[in-house]
Amino acid sequence: MTERHELPIVAPGIDDFAREGAGPAGGWEAPERPQVRLVPTHCCFCGVQCGMFLKVDAHGRVFGVEARDHDINRMRLCPKGVVAYQQVNHPDRLLRPLMRDRRGDPLRPVSWDVALDRIADEIRRIQDAYGRDAFGVIGGASLTNEKAYLIGKFARVALRTRHVDYNGRLCMVSAAAANKKAFGIDRAANPWADLLEAQVILLAGANVGETFPVATQYFWEARDRGARLVVVDPRETPVARTADVHVPIRPGTDAALFNGLLHVIVREGLVDEAFVRDHTTGWEGVRDTVASYPPERVAEICGVDARRVEEVALLWGRAERAMALHARGLEHHVQGVDNCLAVINLVLATGQLGRPGAGYGTITGQGNGQGGREHGQKADMLPGLRDIENPEHRAIVAERWGIDEAELPRAGTSFVEMMEQMRAGQIRGVIGFCNNPLVSLPNLSRIEAAYEALEFHAQADFFLSETAERADVVLPSAVWAEDEGTTTNAEGRVVKHNRAADPPGEARPDWWIMRQIAERLGAGRWFAFESPREIFDDLRDTSRGGIADYAGITYEKIERTGGVFWPCPTPDHPGTPRLFEDLRSAFPDGRFRFHAVEWREPAEPADEDFPLRLTTGRTVAHFLSGNQTRRIGALVEQTPRPWVEVHPSLGFASGDPVRVVTRRGSATYPALVTDTIRPDTVFIPYHWSGRVAANRMTVDALDPVSKIPEFKVCACRVERGDEIDPLSPPPIPPGRMPQPFEAEPAGDARPPTAPQGRGTSER
């Protein structure tokens, strides 16, 4: 009856404090108010761009966060936002430039001059030998507008290469392309405050509760006012759980569903004929197409109940005011653009546009997903959402930049296509800012080969990412709180980030780095910026008259108003929170364009060998490639590792090692067995690297228009595995010690309690 047991006896959930790591560098401090300065700024993470204050101590050190009552988030923050500040003084920060002389050598610290001279030399050498386009620039959509703008200008004016693209290509380019095709302008049509007026909200492929947690309040408050919520998602996500209708479609069947909804709306006579007649073109083609998508067929394609299709169609069709929003779930497909167009067709056919509570939008993923694609770091775009192949646009931008139009390169290729060109030796050198393709791109072994094939690779980052780790030169950059600048959130609202601290060590902001390289390439006069404000003035001037017109937006105006929605052409213009209030598109004829869309099978449909559909996505505690969030103790504690989510019908128990196999690779994860996923679908979050990187298995098929990869569906099979594959801890600079929590504790390869992470008593 007696049992040996050590004291103390710790019952579950009574001492689950964060013991180590889960805190700011230098420990937790709680000084009295007089010793604290609050710097107003916004979060560095997702496209919501929540306002926050950073707490700065008497020594100028960022040590905490305080809630800020900003219009966007009204003091609210998600778990990533709360701990974002812990990046600022993080012990893993890159503090000096690193360099290796040849592949295989270890990285060693060097001076800025040595690193920058090497980069300039290599750029010159490669461009002289193989042509200007043999050197590429890759940007990112977490950069401020100022930096994103400068990336495009840097590539085209300093390097004069056509090869510049950015990681937004992995995000919302499908929506961007669809918006351009249907509306002639690429921006969410409504501010989120409009959601509160909607009677029906349709949310497709958007796990809002985990990827934009703070945006959830808009949906919940709309429901408090009587709105009905429809969620389209193969998984029962936190917002889908309580939705009025959840349509758990098979991954890769979105276009069929939306065609089916429109089919029912046509059948029931719920089309807004007057709107269609007066404000649109192309309706007939769409009407004829959707005729072949009766609910029964849709139900079969999508694997859902036909009655649910009817129900959603009637809800939407009978609503006076309805809004549709979507995110990556709809966009990460080889028919991503078509999927978005199918949603837009539904919106246009029912005239749900340009009014409070009636509208449409994509929820951009990255912090500056919207602004990052507007100002010219995209292969086919010039600042102000201008088209690089449009002679008028080229002439304007060349004139504003003070260069000869003939010297302005033509359109380049997309991010994933650049990887192919790198492998093929067409691109020999790359400099990357703010991206981590060795985690975030599909079919990673090909991406690794692409970087391997480069003659020269430089990467700027504030942590040593998996991509930076392989570079020849690594440049230490500043985190968001160490520089100022603007971002444009998912609504199209331009907000201002403020500087709270100096960069540590020798770290410098990306714009300073680009200026140094440009000077060494003899292009210094186009980059003689002393501050982000000067770059923003240049951006405003260049965007003037464009579609994304920022000319009337100033830092002061943003600070005064809490954010300005573009277009804002003049200083006295109040900005444009809601587009299309006059029911006119941005095309010269003012009409919105219908585009008939046929559903097609995904690039890799399920078959006998690979009978299941693998879909990848995110979890609330981590962000994108995890280079930031896998280093923050609180987030690692919440969700330490990836897992594979499977339906109970597959015969596994939670925690079982389950091997997921696709045509490109396999890995073994702990199973999280749950009813919340379709029996024919498995899910893996993609934020981790190494053996367990989900992108080892994803397919690198691209949408023909937007060039977005099909992250959201490929064929796979699952089998009982032997041993769960271990985590790779995030890389750290030479000579440093890893944080204790960064490596996986031995024997703790448990799945999370739920997709949102481990419960506080399960750690």
Binding site: T2, H5, V10, A11, P12, E32, S761
Partner: protein, 353 residues
């Protein structure tokens, strides 16, 4: 409502005189008086100048015992008192766990290692405070009671210490030992000042400490200790460098602050000195109870909850307190929450509204 408020208000709050506690307090005061009388050889060794201190001590004895008796009457405290002393005095425990009690006394009471876990600074400061106060107490009480007295040994180059009238050691004043004996209280004062400075700094600077802090409860004790130490050091300063010109005045001020502090002990923060030994009792009880009766496992998930003895005793305590959910102790805290959540989903609402 007043009965419900009982244990939650600061326990020193007056709520009518407790007869048992009063009797015990009076008894303690009488014992203290007797000890002074006998220990000072029927007041022959008693220093009349120190009568204020002695009087305060008698009141202190009453107050501390009164408060103690009130305290241990509450069901949880009484249960731990009985269990703690029972385990402490058990021959069987002494035989089975001979090192347990000494280890507990050492780490828990003398060196307070648990405070080190809360923070190195807090531990160092508390140790300084603790040893300073302990040293001062060990000297002052016997001195004021007349239990210790010093006298010159003829021909006058050495001093002798008398304990209860019995001559013990002799020493020369200008040696290291002599200096230590005459200045021990100064050393104690410096230790106390070091500790108090840190804690006062914390009470102005660190919001962990400032949240909910109260003037009387948190600041007064520190200020009182500073006042005692500073006036005590001033006495030395005055006699050593100023030929004692203000000695009489300073002595009265010093005595006043000491008396005030002593009388305050039963009512405020200092009472933790009296309470803290209970933690040794609880630890010994938990350890031995666990070895004898084993672990109690959660009714729902099977994870260990606490020792079976603990669970049984807590259920009884709750019963005595009129809390009618004692059996809930048999479920671990996590499962309590999960089960409440499950009931909420089933019986209140599953979804948004």
């Amino acid at each position: 409502m007043s009965a419900l408020r009982r244990s939650t208000e600061d326990a020193a709050a007056p709520r009518g005189l407790d007869v048992a506690a009063s009797a015990a307090g009076v008894a303690a005061a009488l014992v203290t008086l007797a000890a002074i009388y006998l220990g000072s050889r029927r007041l022959r060794d008693f220093d009349a100048a120190l009568i204020g201190y002695a009087t305060a001590t008698v009141f202190l004895a009453f107050g501390v015992v009164y408060r103690y008796v009130v305290w241990v009457q509450s069901p949880p405290a009484r249960r731990y008192l009985v269990r703690g002393w029972g385990s402490f005095l058990s021959w069987r425990n002494f035989r089975d766990f001979p090192t347990l009690v000494p280890r507990e006394l050492f780490s828990n009471l003398a060196f307070q290692t648990f405070i080190a876990k809360r923070g190195a600074g807090r531990w160092l400061a508390h140790q300084a405070l603790f040893w300073g106060v302990t040293l001062a107490t060990l000297i002052t009480f016997p001195l004021t009671f007349g239990w210790i007295r010093f006298d010159v040994v003829p021909p006058g180059s050495r001093y002798a210490m008398y304990l209860g009238g019995v001559r013990t050691i002799t020493f020369a004043p200008l040696t290291w030992l002599g200096w230590m004996i005459f200045h021990a209280l100064d050393v104690a004062a410096v230790l106390v000042l070091i500790g108090c400075t840190y804690f006062l700094w914390r009470r102005f600077r660190d919001r962990e400490a400032t949240t909910g802090q109260r003037l009387g409860f948190d600041f007064f004790p520190l200020v009182a200790l500073v006042a005692i130490s500073v006036t005590g050091l001033l006495l030395t300063f005055d006699s050593a460098l100023l030929d004692g010109q203000d000695y009489a005045f300073l002595a009265i001020v010093h005595m006043a602050v000491v008396v005030l502090t002593l009388v305050f002990i039963p009512f405020g923060k200092f009472f933790h000195v009296i309470q803290r030994p209970a933690s040794v009792g609880v630890d010994v009880y938990k350890r031995t109870g666990l070895e004898r009766e084993g672990v109690f496992h959660c009714r729902r998930c099977g994870a260990p909850v606490e020792s079976a003895a603990f669970v049984r005793d807590l259920e009884r305590t709750m019963q005595e307190l009129g809390l009618r959910f004692g059996e809930w102790v048999e479920t671990c805290p996590r499962c309590k929450r999960t089960q409440r959540g499950e009931r909420y989903l089933e019986q209140v609402k599953r979804g948004f509204s």
